[in-house]
Symmetry: C2
Subunit: 200 residues, 2 copies
DNA sequence: TAGAATAATGAACGGTGTTCATTTATGGAG
DNA sequence: CTCCATAAATGAACACCGTTCATTATTCTA
């Protein structure tokens, strides 16, 4: 068949993306193959390549979507909280909670693909979305803990790195062996000591 | 041909492993394929499967080796340092420095393989080697900063998580965009605030 | 020296991403 | 209403991937 026009190009793109997200949710990145995806949406593999240049572009698109959801998730968790330390903590909790609730999608974002040597420069929108996450922490530090701008910048990045490490280690089933405590406890420990150093 | 016996089984295992490490060093995990590896050592793919059950077992073995090198690297960096904060800091530096010097190998260790759902329980030796790393930090905290045992345990894990996060974010070329400062600076910032909170 | 044991092979299977000539349904023009 | 240009979907094909295993060639043993 050809030109079925069951879907407009945009509908098709959405269809592909949501089917791909479903596959990642169920089986992880490994489960996302062109053929499985095609089967899922009732098309053949070739069709996917009319919409996305390659599977990598699709994955990047999904990761972009995931970053957006992460951002929104963090926003909703903290927007109505008082402007004090509890808001900073809630923001940190939100990050690891999102990762745990969306494990496979989150792993996909940070999977070290590194196909060959080419560092695949990410699209500008994608970069901007990452920056937004940093800015959110940065602003929160300024507003809630009265951090000066430069200090907030540095701290935001360090905080993110630590959160990221905590998340990786608590998510990765292989490392369960280290007896990691609940991530929230680790965050409490980190924040009360690291941040209060400045605050007091 | 058959039974060439150019190499004893052990020689062959070493040959395979070092050739595989070379491939990972040059091209990353993506570059390590059974066929490329066979070519590298002058055998055919089938031969590899006489030595290793599958490619995963080979990778696990290499990662085990890498963990050993990491441990030794950290030891050598700190063993002759005075028993104070500078030793703790040197240990943290050692971790990120090793990761940067052995980028591809380090990535291989922490690559979220997750083939399917099966969490591939790691060999006992492998687990022990990870534990050794934690213990090294733990002991250092006790000896250099007079941490009580339980506090050292918790702090060692948190410290490792943060180091890990810092390493990931500074290594991943895709995330260069966040303007991460030198990892040493981040570590200084983290340690002086987080650890000194207890020390003072 | 004959035969058993074993190391290495390489063809084959089912999987992957990707390309592209071909086919086919459709929207518009005559 | 018919025809055709256009666009959409196909599916066969290519070059890879990990893995298996009957076969082959070599060495060791008796």
């Amino acid at each position: 068949m050809a030109r079925r026009k069951d879907h407009t190009p945009e509908q098709l793109k959405t269809l592909i993306r949501s089917a791909a997200e479903k596959l990642i949710y169920k089986k992880g990145l490994q489960g996302l193959t062109a053929r499985a995806l095609a089967q899922e949406i009732g098309y053949t593999p070739g069709t996917i390549y009319n919409t996305y240049q390659d599977m990598d572009a699709l994955i990047t698109d999904i990761n972009y979507e995931t970053l957006g959801r992460l951002y929104q998730f963090c926003q909703e968790r903290v927007y109505d909280l008082p402007m004090d330390f509890s808001k900073v903590r809630a923001l940190a909790y939100a990050y690891v909670d999102f990762a745990h609730k969306n494990q496979r999608a989150w792993e996909s974002v940070f999977a070290t693909a590194h196909k060959g040597d080419k560092t695949p420069r990410l699209p500008k929108d994608y970069q901007q979305r990452i920056l937004s996450l940093f800015e959110h922490i940065e602003i929160t530090l300024k507003e809630c803990l009265n951090f000066p701008s430069d200090r907030a910048r540095i701290t935001a990045r360090l905080m993110w790195a630590c959160l990221h490490g905590i998340t990786v280690l608590t998510l990765d089933g292989r490392l369960k062996l280290v007896g990691v405590e609940e991530p929230h406890e680790m965050i409490d420990d980190l924040l009360t000591k690291y941040l209060h150093h400045d605050v007091r």
